[in-house]
Amino acid sequence: MRDFSSKIASALLCLLSLSVMVWATITWGTELTYTPPFLLGVFSLNFRCDDLARLFIFLFSAVTIAIAIFSPDYLQQYNNIHKGQYWVSFFLLAVSLLLVVVSADAICFLVFWEIMALSSAALVASDHLQKKVRKAALIYLGATRIASAVLCAGFLWMHVLTNSWIFVNWDFSRPSTYWPAFLILTGLCIKAGIWPFHLWLPYAYSAAPSTSSAFMSGFMSKVAMLALVRILVMGHLNSPYVIWTAFVLGCITAFWGVLFALVQNNLKKLIAYSSIENLGLILICIAFSLNASSNKQVLIAHMALVAAIVHCLNHGLFKSLLFLGTGAIEKSAGRLDLEYLGGLAKQMPTTWICMTVACLAACALPPLNGFPGKWLLYQALFQNICVKGAILEKTASVLSICLLSAVGALILSALVKALAVAFLGKARSTNAAEASERSIAMSVALVFLASCCVLSGLFANAMLTSVGSALASSGLPTVRVEVSLPTSFIVITLIGTSLACYFLFLHPVKTRKYVTWDCGYGSLSPKAQVTADSFAQPSARIFRPLLRYHNLSKIDGADRRHFPERIHVETRIISILETKVYAPLLAMVNVSSRSIARLQAGSIHIYLLYVCSTLIILLLLGVAF
């Protein structure tokens, strides 16, 4: 019965996303504004839907349909999740996100932003009987509170300066608006999980059910980036301080995220960190575009902004696919620690193929959809080196190209590690050995998202032009970008040569099956395989000062070189930010709130004294002024 209601909810969600998609397709190319006839308190609400918002609505529909199909079967494994609560929060989150995307003034934005924050916190806390989930939800809730506070402050400040709540009227080109711009940037960065505010993200995404992590990472974090574009980019921000802060934060985030992704052993955490990396890349694009437009380099600004939007859309698709893929593994193998998985490719072929597609896309490899955004960012950076300009900016571009290529190589190693340890080799636990594809609906959802990734990769040029035209219709000065990706050429060459190689060399040959080479010792145990830790060790060693990476190994035995009796290996990673910055800060807050708590003595006499003394102080103040 309960299952049945889950299915109805999922069908309703599908219907909702299909209908908004159809609506967005029909109204494509027009700009709609709507002001409801009622007021919210004393404020009127303003909605505005342009092509840029419609692009995000398309992303919303794709991600939501996949999650709606995936959810009912996935949720069966959780006995402790209250399905009603889950679906109600999911609907609230979905609707509020849609309304955030189309809201045109600050009040409307904040209202739905808050509903979004609270309902997503409820989703994170779905399985709240576990202590780790409660902790994650609390951290997430704290982060969203701070984000909203900072954002509110920025909005109020802008209202004071411009006397308007409507985003279109906000102009950030005057020096007086630099501080509110900075506040708005900070608020949105906290919500998106930009370094150094990224700490909540791995906690929340790994504790939430995979479906909600997929939605939060695939769509919710992109909405923060869309808000950055809507408010700051379209408000013509030109403060070099804010822009360079954003740029440096983006660079650090991209590198930091991928570095920590490399050393994670939990599949969901690894993907969460890779999500941080991608948001860093998007922030780099936005900051770079702001910088170029403040230097009046319209072409570069446009290229970088298109790169940002395209990467938002593509990252939404492949990241939600990655999270749903982990959900499928979680359901059939029970755990997501890489040390307990292995050999899943044979038992779960659909999940394996879809996850490979997602990883290829996440590594930004050419025919797939992670590539266009990154490629356009590279092109924009390169163009910036080739035009007349300040030497400092050019140096920054050169260093960012350097950083981007290192980040690309690091994410490749992190995702190859995840993919190979989880899916290849032999199973490292009985649960993993008995895993299988459990549900057709889940596979359908995965295949749907994987084909979205492939198609948006193949039609990358069409996507780039439509994003360009959407930005043009949203009131930004645009120019035609003349570079285009040779996608079809790459695909044809690759498929042609692959088929030729296969049929020339491998196809008709008979093969012989034998065990993996074991140096003559006899059958290898699954424990003789590489672990996630040992795979990452050589790379992690290079960055050990940043990661605080320690690797202790102790080998005991009479003749320890040749006949070890006991081998003990321990790897430890300390997040400096968490232990050195946030922990003392939190301790300070705790101490100060404890001392403030002394005021609340619980005695009515003291409270009466407070009331009386407040009155006297107010009276005195009244007399004084």
């Binding site: 080739c386 190209i401 290192a406 190693s413 190859v416 080799g425 032999k426 040959v509 099956k513 060693r541």
Partner: protein
């Protein structure tokens, strides 16, 4: 030149040159060790022998292994098709440097998966070291290519290597050529980084990764490796040749001849280097790569200073 002659010369170079390069490297090493050594065309016989053998697969493999060797070779062929590594090509498509770098990454992704498919610790540790090397080397290669693009004002490799106003920036060609050459040593696991000729206890990267491959699979892997070596050597040979300002004024077939001789000379140089240099301890490799990155950075900044239009 007629199109048939172009096609046949290109196909011959692409098929004959990679094994020949390796043969030259081996012959040079043998001569320097006072051995006669196998003939330079020995790699052809080795490859031919591999196609005759019967393939053995591990029963742990899930099928990505065979796919990976095929995709690896086809990506490298596609790259040979893209990159203007020889002056005479039947068709030169737009070879954007960033696409080229990410196509190399595509080849690597599949090679790594293939190495880990059998669940063998040898393959996996080889893969682990390979990704570590690559994350160090990738910025160097990227910056070297970017520096060339800066002087040509285009990210198209075809435009870069047909560019003719370079008299003031010959230092860029030199730095970029050196950087690409050293990158190829690290990327392909050659001497100061890894010794490709020993067996698995000593060879840490490539041999370890191909341990489970046999017969035709091994053929594909080996050929991919040789072709990659040739591509890198040809790119750096062209960079060196372009230091000489007269190179661009030569006829295409003279250029072709010079480039091919240059590649063989580079191969001899690799052989000499491998005989003289000792293998670095694994932990010292990052320092070696740091030098390559420095050369690339110098190259970029010289290019920025030397590009007169900036």
């Amino acid at each position: 030149m007629s199109s048939i002659a172009t096609w046949s010369s290109y196909l011959l170079t692409v098929i004959i040159f990679p094994p020949l390069c390796l043969g030259v490297v081996r012959k040079t090493k043998a001569r320097l060790q006072n051995r006669v050594g196998p003939a330079v065309w020995q790699p052809f016989f080795d490859l031919h022998r591999l196609t005759k053998k019967r393939e053995t697969l591990s029963d742990t493999m899930c099928g990505v292994f065979r796919l990976s060797t095929v995709v690896g070779l086809s990506t490298t062929f596609a790259l040979a098709w893209f990159i203007p590594w020889v002056p005479i090509k039947p068709w030169s498509p737009h070879a954007d440097i960033f696409t080229v770098i990410y196509l190399f990454a595509l080849e690597r992704f599949f090679t790594l998966l293939g190495a880990m498919d059998s669940g063998s610790a040898f393959g996996a540790f080889g893969a682990s070291r390979d990704v570590t090397l690559n994350l160090l080397v990738e910025p160097a290669l990227c910056l070297a290519l970017v520096s060339l693009s800066i002087i040509a004002n285009s990210t198209d490799l075809g435009a870069i290597f047909s560019f003719s106003h370079f008299s003031t920036v010959s230092l860029v060609w030199f730095c970029a050529g050196t950087s690409i050459f050293l990158t190829s040593l690290a990327e392909l696991g050659r001497m100061p980084v890894d010794d490709p000729t020993t067996h698995l206890e000593l060879t840490m990267i490539h041999e370890a990764m191909t341990l489970e491959a046999s017969a035709r699979n091994l053929f594909l892997l080996e050929f991919t490796r040789m072709l990659k070596l040739t591509l890198f050597l040809a790119l750096s040979a062209q960079c060196y040749l372009r230091i000489w300002a007269g190179f661009a004024t030569l006829a295409p077939f003279q250029q072709e001849l010079l480039v091919l001789i240059g590649v063989l000379l580079m191969a001899i140089f690799v052989g000499i280097l491998e005989s003289l240099v000792v293998k670095l301890q694994w932990r010292k490799v990052p320092e070696f790569v740091a030098y390559i990155v420095t050369v690339s950075l110098i190259s970029v900044f010289v290019a920025m200073a030397g590009n007169t239009s900036l």
